[in-house]
Symmetry: D2
Subunit: 296 residues, 4 copies
C-alpha cells in the first residue's frame, strides 16, 4: 500500500468518500470514526481534526468502541504473517523489532497475549512507537492487573496516541499536535570554567537483556552535540544511558589526574516518561567530581 499525504485544506472541502478514504486508516479497521468526524468540519488545525476524531470515538456506543478495540492486532502475533494486520500496524510494530523476536521472546509475548485476552476478551493495545521494548513489556504486565473498565479506558487512550501519530504523518497542515520528543546534552568543564569540547558521548538504550547503541557523538566547541541525541520522533518511554568519556578529554588537556584517572567513562542512567517532552541531561565535570540533572 502506498501512503499518501493529504492537505488539511483539501479535507475541509472534499466529499465524504474522499475524506473517509484519506482518514479511514487512522483508527485501525474503523472508518466510522472518520465518518463521524466528517460532520464536524472545518478544522483550523490538524490538532482540531484529531480532537474531532477522538470525540467521534468517545460519543459512539459502547459496543462500537469495543469493536474498535477488538479490531486491533495482537502484539507480536503470528497472525501478522497471515496478513490480517494493516500496513500501518505492521510498520509500527516493526519499529520496535516486534517482527524479529527470538523464539523465547515470542513465547513471552504469546503468554502475555493469551493471559490478556483471557482476562479482557480483546487484544492488548499500546502505541509501540512511544515505548522501548522493555517499557512495553512492563506496561503489558502492569495493565494485566487492571479492572476491565480501567483497561478499556487505557486501550482507548492508546488508540488516541496511535491515531495522533498516524494523523500527523497522513495530513499536512497548520497546528499539528506535538508527537516528537527530544534528548539533548551539554558537557561543562568545571575545572576550567567553560564548555568541554571533544568529549565522546555515547547514548544507549538499556534493556533487560542488552544495550542498544543509539548515538555516538563528539561535543562541539559549545560542549553540545551538533544535533540532539534524539529528536524527530516520540522519545520512547524507557531507560537510557549516556556514557561521557571525560577521562580522555581531561588527559588530552594535560590535566594531571591520577593513573588510572579517578573518572574515565561516566555513565548517566535515566528514564524518560514523557515521549513528547524535552529531556536535557547535562554533565558538569572536573577530573574528580561530576553532577547531572534534568535540565531545560
Amino acid at each position: 500500500m502506498i501512503r499518501s499525504v493529504t492537505d488539511l485544506a483539501a479535507l475541509d472541502t472534499c466529499d465524504r468518500g474522499s475524506f473517509v478514504a484519506a482518514l479511514g486508516g487512522v483508527f485501525e479497521n474503523a472508518p466510522w470514526v472518520a465518518e463521524g468526524a466528517f460532520a464536524m468540519r472545518p478544522f483550523a488545525t490538524v490538532a482540531d481534526l484529531h480532537a474531532a476524531m477522538m470525540r467521534a470515538m468517545a460519543t459512539a456506543g459502547e459496543a462500537e468502541r469495543l469493536a474498535l478495540i477488538r479490531g486491533h492486532p495482537e502484539l507480536a502475533s503470528k497472525v501478522a504473517s497471515a496478513g490480517a494486520m494493516t500496513a500501518e500496524s505492521r510498520r509500527e510494530q516493526g519499529s520496535l523489532g516486534l517482527d524479529r523476536l527470538s523464539e523465547e521472546e515470542l513465547a513471552r509475548f504469546e503468554r502475555l497475549n493469551a493471559a490478556y485476552r483471557a482476562r479482557f476478551g480483546f487484544p492488548f493495545i499500546i502505541c509501540v512507537r512511544r515505548h522501548t521494548r522493555d517499557s512495553l513489556l512492563d506496561n503489558f504486565e502492569r495493565r494485566l492487573a487492571n479492572s476491565p473498565e480501567t483497561e478499556r479506558a487505557a486501550a482507548l487512550q492508546e488508540v488516541g496516541h496511535i491515531a495522533r501519530l498516524r494523523l500527523v504523518e497522513a495530513v499536512e497542515g497548520p497546528g499539528k499536535p506535538k508527537t516528537d520528543g527530544r534528548l539533548s546534552t551539554h558537557v561543562l568543564d568545571t575545572a576550567s570554567g567553560g564548555p568541554a569540547a571533544g568529549v565522546r558521548v555515547v547514548l544507549t538504550e538499556l534493556g533487560a537483556s542488552a544495550e542498544g547503541l543509539l548515538k555516538d557523538a563528539i561535543t562541539n566547541v559549545d560542549g553540545r552535540t551538533d544535533e540532539p541525541l534524539l529528536a524527530g520522533a516520540p522519545l520512547r518511554i524507557g531507560t537510557y544511558q549516556i556514557a561521557f568519556h571525560i577521562g580522555a578529554y581531561f588527559a588530552a588537556k594535560g590535566i594531571a589526574a591520577a593513573s588510572p584517572p579517578f573518572l574515565d567513562v561516566v555513565p548517566v542512567r535515566f528514564a524518560s516518561a514523557d515521549p513528547e517532552g524535552h529531556y536535557h541531561v547535562p554533565l558538569l565535570a572536573s577530573p574528580w567530581s561530576y553532577a547531572t540533572y534534568r535540565g531545560s
Copy 2:
C-alpha cells in the same frame, strides 16, 4: 605450611638463625635480605624493619638484586602446579584467581610472560594484592615497553610492596607501615536535606569481561553503610562501580516523581589508583539530580 607470627621485640633479641628463619620468606627465595637486615637491629617499629630490609636489598650488588628478581615465579605459570612457587606466592596469586584462569586467559598470560622474559630475561613481578586482574594486565602490557633499567627498578619497587604486605602479616609490633586502603560512601537526600537511610548500595569490580560483586549493603540512618565498602586490605588498583538504588528510596518516601522515575539505579564508576588510600565516594541526590566526587 603453618604461617607463624613473630613479635617485633623477639626479633630484636633472637639469634641470627631464628631471625632469618622468621623473615627469610619475606623476600622471595632471598634469605640474604633478612641476613643483611639482622645487622641493623634493633627496630623501633615494623616500618623500620621494612626500611632496613629495603636498604639491605638496595646496597647489595647488582648481580644479587637481579638474582632476587629471577627468584620470583611467573604470574599464572603452569610451573605453579610443579611446586616451585613458595606458599606465599601461591596464596597471593590465588587472591586474584590467577590459579583458576580459563584456557584463553592462561594463553594471554603465557603470551605476555614469554614476551616479557624474551625482552628482559627475568619474570614479571607485580604485587598482585594491590591490583585487580584488569589493572594487572594493563600494567603488564604497559611495562613491556619500559627500558631494561626502568623495568628493573619497577620490579624492585614491586618486590618492596610484596615484602611490606608479607611483613605486616608476619610480624606483630608497633608502627606497622600502612598497607590497607578504604572505600566508603554516604548518601545525602538533597530533596529533604538529610541523610538517605535504607538505600541499597551495590559495589562491583568492573573488568574487561565481567563484573564481580564485592558488596551489597543498605545505608543506615546516617546515610552510610555500617562498615566501609572495602577495608582491611589494599584497595586494589582498578575500576569499580557503586550502584545506588535511589529510585526505590524515593518511591518508599512517597516522593512523586515520574513513572518510570527519571533516576532509578544510579551507577557511579571510578578507578582507585592508591591501594593504601581512602576513597570516599558520596552521592548527593534528589529524584531529578545527583552529584558525586572524591571526598574525604
Copy 3:
C-alpha cells in the same frame, strides 16, 4: 547570686525543702512546679526530672499556669533595672544583648510588649537562648496574631524550653536532655580531588541591621575546622553566612584562574530552625563552580 550545681542522685534522696531550694528557680517565680515534681521521685535521668516538672505544670490548674506565665518578665523591659527580674532571666536576656539595646530598638520592643500585653494580658515569653535577635523579633510579631489559646500553649512550650536549659545547668547526672546544637563545615577541592586545607572560613550572624562575627577559622588538612563553627549551646534559630575564601586558596595553589578570579569569597547563607540539631554545611568548590547543601 552564686549558682550552685546539684547532683541528680542527691535530689533523689534529699528532703522537700532542699529539693525545692535547688530547683525552685527552674520555672520562673514558680517553686510549686518543683514541689509537684518532688512527689514523682526518683529520677533515673535528668530528662526524666524535666519531664516530671513539665507534667507537674501540665496537671496544675488553668489559673496556676496563667499565674506562672504572668510571673515572667517582659523582654527588654525597663523593669529589668528595677530588680524584679530573676538572675536567670537577666543572664539569658543579656546573652542576646537585650540589656544593651539602642533607644530605637528599645522603643520597638516596648511597642511590641505593649501590643502583646494588651492582646493577651500576660508578658511575651520566649526562650531567648534559642534565637538570634532577628528571629526573636520575627516570632514576637508572628505570635501577636495567634488566638489566646494558641498563644498560651506557645508560652508554656517556651517555658519548657527555658526550664530544660536551666535544669541542664543546675543538675549534674546521667541522661541530660539535648540542649545544644552544632554547626560544622568541610571544604572539598573538586579540582584536585581532596580536602581543601588552609581555607579561611568566616561565620557571621546576619541580622536586619548588621552582621555579627561569630568565628574566623582556617581549615585543617582534612578541610575541616579544628572545632565546630558553633557548639556547646543551642544553635540559635536565625540566619547565618559562611564566607569561604577560596580565591586565596586556589591562588596559593598556583591554579591559574582568571584575573580577578571568577570566585573569590563565596558566601553561603542559610537559616537554622532546630536549635538542638546538627547543621553540616560543606562546600565543594573548583575555581569555577561550587555546591553546598545541608549534610550530616
Copy 4:
C-alpha cells in the same frame, strides 16, 4: 557637540579631510592616527579599520606615541571642569560616576594621579567603560608598580580598547569588532526536575563601599530572565552578586521546608574578567542544596 555616525563605505571613498574629520577623535587628541590609516583604505570591515588605526599608531615614532599618551586627560581630574577634556572622555568617565566623586574619593584619585605622574611622566589611561570603579582603582594601584616600558605598553593597549569602543559607535558597517559582553542566568529546580519560574533575581555590583543595583527581574517559564541580566555594552571587570530568592519560590510551591527555610535568599558572588565575554551563571537548587558555576 553632536556625535555623528558615518558609514564605512563612505569612509572608503571620501577625501582625506572628511576621513580625518570623521575619525580624528577616535584616538584622543591625535588626528594623525586617522591620517595614517587613510593610506590603508579600503576597509572590508570596521574591525579592519580598527586594526589599521592600531597599525598606524604602532608604526609611528616613539615620541609620537608618548605624545598620544600625554594627550589623554587624568582620571577624575579637576581639570575636567576647565574644559580641556574631549566630549568623548567626559562621557566615558561620567559612565562610572567619576565626575560625581565624593571629596574623599576625589582625594584618593588625586593621590594616585600624582603618584602615577611622578613615576611615569604621563597620565594614567584606562578604558573606563570596561571596569567597575573598584576594578579601576585596583588596576590603578597595581599598574603603579610596573616598569616604565611595561606601563607604556599597558597604556597603549588601553588606548586601543578606548578607540575600539569609539569606533564601533562612530562607524556603521559590517564586521564590527566585539565590544559588548553578556551576563545571563538560569534557575533549575532540582527538587521537581524543571526550570524554576517566578524566582526573583537581583543583580548588584559589589564595591568596596557599597552595592549598586543593576537589575531586579523574575524568571520566566524557562527559568530564565526575559532579557540577559547585562548586555549591549562591555561587561565591566569587577565583582557582582546575584541574589536568588528561592525561599519564596519553594514556599509558593508549597514544598514544606523548615521554618525559617534553610535557604531563602541565595547570594552568588563572582567576578568578571573578560568585558567582551559571555558569563552564564545558573543556579541549580532544591530547598536544601544548590550549585552554581560558570556555564555557557
